[in-house]
């Protein structure tokens, strides 16, 4: 009986973390699609926006929904600023230049987080501690908030890309930016908007993460691990992040369960093993675009 509880609860936690990883991975992928580079500043966008929510609600008594909305707007602003200041001037240069620049932005944002958080005070968002029992699973309100926020972001982005003209135009830019500008698409604006949307997605994922874990400067580690989900899905895939995220979530939770008694802490590092394996054997990921070639 104990084993059943253990497995059911681990699976539930894997599900929650899987969706959070998926949302974090989506942030990388949206940027990658338009700029063909991994945005290494994203982990710190996550920390920064999580701290904005925490500080506003804990010290200024702003209601959490309002603080969350503000953090989404800030995420958008940071994304747009990164595009304007880094990606646009470096367009047409080797992508390594842009990735190095985003790594620099990571540290700038880290400084900003430190200022906002008054030297990285840690704490939790203080969501109501309500627990529900569903069969053998014990789930908290935070779990549900995390699932709802990350899932609705993912579904929203997928629907936007599939059905709205804006999303379709973004897909066109992602496939062939030069061709898109030849047909008169506003490539520059669409690229900037994509970075902004990636920032919003990161901020939403940050909130989901903050609901689950303590708000601390170490939240960036989750976003770094989510890069494995992103690679697994394929860096230019959108809906694939759900699979990538869930695989990572389940591997990590069950991996920890099985391996931690033998090698403590290994579960936490499994993401990097996934990254390595994907890069070695399936560099385009599971759902990465394989270009159509008519023979």
């Amino acid at each position: 009986m104990d084993t059943l509880y253990l497995i059911a609860n681990t699976a539930f936690q894997a599900l929650v973390m899987g969706f959070i990883y998926a949302a974090l991975a989506l942030g990388y992928n949206i940027v990658y699609r338009v700029s063909k580079a991994v945005n290494l500043a994203e982990p710190e966008i996550v920390v920064f926006t999580a701290y904005v929510v925490f500080v506003l609600s804990a010290y200024y008594h702003v209601p959490i929904p309002a603080a969350f909305t503000l953090s989404l707007a800030l995420g958008f602003g940071v994304g747009v600023a990164l595009e304007r200041l880094l990606a646009r001037p470096l367009r047409g240069r080797p992508v390594a230049a842009l990735m190095a620049a985003t790594l620099g932005a990571y540290y700038v944002l880290r400084g900003m987080s430190m200022v906002v958080s008054r030297g990285f005070e840690m704490g939790s968002l203080g969501l109501p501690e309500t627990y529900y029992s569903i069969g053998p699973v014990r789930a908290s309100l935070s779990d549900f908030i995390a699932i709802c926020v990350s899932l609705s972001v993912i579904v929203g982005i997928v629907l936007m890309h599939r059905y709205t003209r804006l999303g379709i135009a973004m897909r066109a830019v992602s496939e062939d930016a030069f061709g898109a500008s030849a047909y008169g698409l506003p490539v520059t604006v669409l690229t900037m908007l994509s970075w902004g949307i990636a920032g919003v997605v990161s901020a939403a994922a940050a909130f989901a993460l903050a609901a689950k874990a303590q708000v601390s400067p170490m939240l960036d580690f989750y976003a770094i691990k989510a890069l494995a989900a992103s690679l697994l899905a394929g860096l230019d895939s959108i809906a694939g992040v759900v699979v990538g995220g869930l695989v990572l979530g389940f591997m990590e939770q069950f991996g920890s369960l099985a391996l931690d008694p033998i090698l403590p802490g290994l579960g936490n590092q499994l993401a990097f093993i996934v990254m390595l394996v994907v890069l070695l054997f399936k560099p385009y990921g599971l759902f990465g675009t394989e270009r159509i070639e008519r023979v």
Partner: protein, 262 residues
């Protein structure tokens, strides 16, 4: 005052990578509501001429160093490509550049978004290329070559161009498809009151629909005239239309000599 000609290219020289002279003093004029064909073999400079007009040579470090390009009474030589396309010159590049991962419908939606066209406006593509309508939901990468070319031209139509530049639309297509494509181009030219500048190697097809033609060789215009005159011209018939008839060895030698033209 609007001049009779929509586009006037006056004695331009185009240079790539500061040293390579590609066009050596070319002048053409395109009257409103007409089809003008630029003919010539590979490497004659047809594509370069279209890129000079559309401004895209800038992206390849090319430059118009002499002469002028006047569109609708305004100098456009060496202008940014975006500004030129906003003025109404749309360039359908060689090799059917479409969004292969998107469906036909999504290709149209994406470009309609760029020009703020409604779905009703976007139906113009299906009107002239009815073949595409049946393949609305098909990813463009899986279309046949001819259909891809039709889609590329259809997307350009959404911009409501004043001047449409078509680069080698018949490239790599079966003769039957080329015939259908040219039929479509002719129709949309007549009904949409378009002005088209067409670069082609397939001189026979191009001269069927064009009003006027220029023949380009080695970056120079070697011959020009109304399409019907060119169709009748002895040299053109021989070198470009492949109308030769029976010939003895002497006339082949004459061909060799004559082919050098200017």
């Amino acid at each position: 005052m609007a001049s009779k000609h929509l586009l006037e290219v006056n004695n331009i020289e185009v240079v790539y990578h500061p040293y390579i002279l590609v066009l050596k003093g070319i002048s053409i004029s395109v009257p409103r509501n007409s089809i003008v064909a630029i003919l010539g073999p590979n490497g004659a400079g047809k594509t370069t001429l279209l890129k000079a007009i559309s401004g895209l040579i800038k992206l390849e470090r090319g430059k118009v160093t002499k002469g002028s390009i006047i569109f609708d009474g305004e100098h456009i030589e060496n202008m940014e490509p975006e500004n030129i396309s906003r003025r109404g010159i749309v360039y359908v590049v060689e090799g059917r550049r479409i969004f292969k991962e998107l469906t036909v419908e999504e290709n149209i939606e994406a470009v309609a978004f760029a020009w703020r066209r409604s779905s009703r406006d976007a139906d113009i593509v299906y009107k002239y290329f009815p073949r595409l309508k049946a393949k609305r939901k098909v990813r463009a990468g899986y279309l046949s070559g001819g259909e891809q070319q039709m889609l590329a031209i259809g997307l350009a139509l959404l911009a409501k161009p004043k001047l449409l530049l078509l680069d080698e639309p018949s490239l790599g297509l079966a003769p039957k498809i080329v015939a259908e494509l040219y039929q479509n181009i002719r129709e949309l030219y007549e009904e949409e009151k378009l002005t088209i500048l067409l670069a082609e190697q397939n001189a026979r097809k191009a001269l069927e629909i064009a009003d006027y033609g220029y023949i380009l060789e080695n970056g120079r215009i070697v011959l020009e005239g109304p399409a019907e005159k060119l169709r009748e011209d002895k040299d053109v018939r021989e070198f470009y239309l492949g109308v030769t008839g029976r010939k003895g060895y002497r006339s082949v030698k004459w061909y060799r000599r004559k082919k050098r033209w200017v």
